[in-house]
Amino acid sequence: MARKTIKQGSHTTLLAQREALRSLREILFANVVMAGEIPAPTGYERRITRFLSDRFTECGLDNISLDQAGNVAGVISGRTGRRNLLVAAHVDKIWAESEDHTVSVGVGEMGGRGLADNSLGVAVLATLPLILDELGIALDANLILLGTTRSFGRGDLRGMRFFLENSAWEIDSALCLEGIELGRLSFSSLGMARGEIVVEVSRLHDEDALNEAASGVIATLSELIEAMLEINRRGGPDTRLLIGSIESGSGYSVPPRQGLVRFEIRSLDAGHVAEVEEELVQLVERFSGREGTSVGIEIIARRRPGNLGLEHPLVREAGEILAVLGVESRIEPSVSELAALLDRRIPSLTLGLTKGENRHSPEESILLDPIFDGLAQLVAMLQFMDGGDFTF
């Protein structure tokens, strides 16, 4: 494997690239604003993929396409085209279309729903052709830029999975872009199962019995949650059963007919995920036997664990680049697009582009200056990936 590492190369080049990229500041920030203000709930991403394809067109990319899953792709053809590198960012956000997507810009920071996850990633993807142009970088490999749809929740990475299953490109290595957190070394994906437990009142014709059963929905939910917390406590340090949200009722005095618990099981060990899932199924069966209520469980998304390994050249290089940039690195497993890539044994990393706060809250914000560290990291990684053949 003939590769140039950051140690052999010039630290000053990396730092000079970071400074040179500041000339694209307004273009990048404007892309963040525009990507940030386009609502893109999972499954309704057409406007934001249109934004990306327009940007790709303006930059003169080749083979700009929308696939059946709604993903948008564009290609910067390489000098030799012997390898294919992929840079991907998921375009969907957790926020409903009706939420306020206004972005505010202050000195050194921006605020607004979805900026960290993942408007900044989308904006960097849109700006990447100009970034490479500005630095005078032409890669030997073909560079495929991909905005993926249906990442969150029931979307279950469907966009990325569809691309990997159907694309004509054989991907040699890949980077996933996430707005935050700069410094993350994400080279492994957690095993994961995500699902919902639904508690419902059975069909009862007697009104008193119906009200009694309805009152029991909250009690059943409460017992369920207590039992789930107990499963989590027994799960050991590497396995988590997370309760993400509960829903039931709509007022003060009307007993609810339905209740819902959303959960996620995470573990580095696929076997542990399956064990906890089985415990939940048994728990649900126990509750289902009660008169007047029915309880059901549905798994809506799964990930198999994958791990590139701390010693993999991509991981080591990423760590060294961060060190040169003066950014503290930390290992952070991922449950996003990286999982689908590792699942297909494609050497891949997820990069965080800046620092930020309040992810997934209305007060989500990102810092602007560290973005240039994130961009320098991205460019250096691409140059490194361009120079070598990597195995999983």
Binding site: E26, I27, F29, A30, N31, M34, V103, S104, V105, G106
Partner: protein, 328 residues
Amino acid sequence: MSETDERIARWLETNTFHHSEFWDMQELVRAKQEAGLTISLCIPTLNEENTIGKEIIVFKSELMDRYPLIDEIAVIDSGSTDRTLEIAASYGADTYLSADILPGHGFKSGKGENLWKAIYQLRGDIICYVDADIKNIHAKFASALVAPLIYRPEIQYVKAFYDRPLAVSDEVRPSGGGRVTEILVRPLFSMFFPELTALIQPLSGEYAVRREVLERLPFPIGYGVETSHLIDLYQSSGLDAFAQTDLDKRVHRNQSTTDLGKMSFGILQSFLHRLETYGMAKDLPELHGLFRQFRAEGRRYEQVTREILEEERPPMITLPEYRERHGR
């Protein structure tokens, strides 16, 4: 159909645009360069730290860096006490304190003052004014206003509008957005300048104008500036000097009814002055600037008075400093 109706209908057909007609930015830049025009963007501000950064970033990225349509972006500030100027400067706008421009002529507080001083300070053959409080800013807020001036030399003044009248079964929704427009300005225009009613949002703060027009207009420094411009240019050049562009939607902060009352008072002053100037109203009493509002506290009613004086700046072309700076 009356002659006025026909003229309005014809004008709506020929001089009302939708921003999507100007989607081809490369073509617009080419036409601008071919015409040898320079364009300045002016954003008048007073404590707009929440929205100014975004406006500067979007305009600079899209209309200077990507497509060189705008030659300068300037923020002219009335004395903000927040971080408006710091933020604007940090994203590359030229920032000016209104009081520092033409200091020999003093400083008057009001948006119209900033717009007037922009004519002196900025270099463009066309000046595009954009308010600083737009939440859903987009490059079209400037590009689609200057485009008619680039493509149609006979057009002098282009106004933005946002909510199209929308036919819903047999009902036509009014143009919406501007309460002062619908309750005060449109009735006044209907009575005295009926052709000007064709302007769907006469009070919108986004408009692009040729320098040779701006330098000859007197500028009320307060609420009446837009209304006066329209009347003055209409009197000198007629409806065909105007155009308007539909920008679809504008999200901005809502003003209280009390504030709209003050605004209406200022506009009314300017309007009545214009009627006097053009001999359209005789024997008006001397107009004073005392606006009276009331507030209730329980069963106690209190009068609140406020002096709203619509002072005017003279046409910029009358200032020797201006003629020297701009070679007029």
